[in-house]
């Protein structure tokens, strides 16, 4: 599977440097290494979800408990989380650091991913969720740190879109 282990490790290390102690996740191809890294790390609480929207509640609970968290999801998982984002994270000013694998864009071979790719950014903009791309090695660490900082200071969801250029090796 040509998902980049090196770059997944880079992202994971960047999360650790931000003192992320809980990660909620639903598996998808690009996230397999990240989830395994979290699972193998005794310092990390990994919460494997049935549906991504649960992660909004779990992260809110972690925030109340004083623990920094991150959500790992595919963009379709972001679509499935929108009510939770609006009627919990936005309504109650909950910081969410969302790492979203950006499927269905240029280079996508799986037909079933393509519609989600079309609407991800328009929806992030409509929801006024600040977002940046993780698309190059040299900016990963800085952008993860910046996203986490903004989520905490603004008390709102912030998204990082994990791109094919970073996640896929072929």
């Amino acid at each position: 599977m040509p998902v980049s282990l090196t770059n997944s490790k880079l992202i994971y290390d960047a999360l650790k440097e931000c003192d992320i102690r809980l990660v909620s996740a639903l598996p998808e191809t690009w996230l397999v290494h990240l989830i395994r890294l979290a699972d193998d790390d005794p310092e990390m609480i990994l919460v494997r979800l049935a549906k991504e929207e649960e992660g909004v509640g779990v992260s809110a609970g972690a925030h109340f408990a004083g623990v920094k968290s991150a959500m790992l999801m595919q963009n379709h998982g972001f679509l499935a989380s929108i009510n939770g984002i609006v009627s919990f994270a936005h309504l109650y000013k909950i910081p969410l650091l969302m790492l979203v694998s950006y499927r269905g864009t240029f280079g996508e071979r799986d037909p079933w991913q393509t519609q989600g790719g079309n609407v991800t950014e328009p929806l992030l903009r409509a929801l006024r969720i600040p977002y940046l791309f993780l698309d190059a090695l040299d900016t990963v660490k800085k952008r993860v740190r910046q996203a986490q900082t903004l989520a905490e200071s603004s008390l709102q969801p912030v998204a990082l879109l994990l791109t094919r250029d970073l996640m896929w090796e072929e």
């Binding site: 102690r21 809980l22 609480i45 919460v47 494997r48 979800l49 049935a50 549906k51 929207e53 649960e54 992660g55 909004v56 509640g57 779990v58 992260s59 809110a60 609970g61 972690a62 925030h63 109340f64 408990a65 004083g66 623990v67 968290s69 009510n83 939770g84 009627s87 919990f88 309504l91 109650y92 000013k93 909950i94």
Partner: protein
């Protein structure tokens, strides 16, 4: 059995717990008994109260966390039962008030009114201890057992479809949220 009587029967015991409720009658009735800084009322995002309780419980395993859920909310997030069962925090108590309807929007019947069995679903999802109660006495005992049993417990409490006159309280959502978090942080400093 009235939900208000159930809440009243355990109100004193809630003092040293972290409490998360769903919106509507549950929030309004608990609030009417007297708000405390360790109560968080999730006034929207139906289904996520149990997920929120799970998040708190996983991060603070020494704290007793009680979630007051409802049939309508739980039916919107049945997957939460499987996620809770997977991690089964020992001090998480999941109470589901089942009045077989969506009371606060006019009493529309939920699927528990036509035979869906939340007790069976919770058990089959893997929740280690599941109890169904129909009297206030049994409710009180079930909560006490769950608190001290050392096992994730879901309590299905069958209650009347009867609620308060209104649902809006004088506590702002954000005030509640910041107070709840500050309360938890103050516990950690003790």
């Amino acid at each position: 059995m009235l939900r208000l009587d159930c809440l009243r029967s355990v109100y004193a015991e809630l003092e040293d717990c972290l409490v998360v409720t769903i919106m509507g009658a549950v929030a309004a009735e608990l609030h009417s008994l007297g708000h405390r800084p360790n109560f968080f009322y999730l006034q929207h995002a139906m289904g996520l109260a149990s997920s929120t309780g799970l998040g708190v419980a996983l991060c603070l395993p020494e704290q007793t966390v009680i979630v007051f859920d409802g049939d309508g909310s739980l039916l919107m997030n049945l997957g939460s039962l499987s996620t809770m069962a997977r991690y089964r925090p020992k001090k998480l108590v999941h109470v589901v008030f089942d009045n077989e309807c969506l009371l606060s929007v006019g009493g529309f019947p939920t699927a528990t009114s036509t035979g869906t069995d939340l007790e069976g679903i919770a058990r089959a999802a893997g929740i280690p201890r599941v109890v169904k109660v129909r009297s206030v006495e049994d409710f009180k005992i079930a909560v006490a057992n769950a608190r001290h049993g050392g096992e994730l417990t879901t309590i299905i409490a069958k209650v009347e479809a009867q609620g308060p006159a209104g649902y809006v309280t004088d506590l702002s959502l954000l005030e509640n949220r910041f107070q709840f978090r500050r309360h938890i942080q103050s516990l950690k400093k003790q």
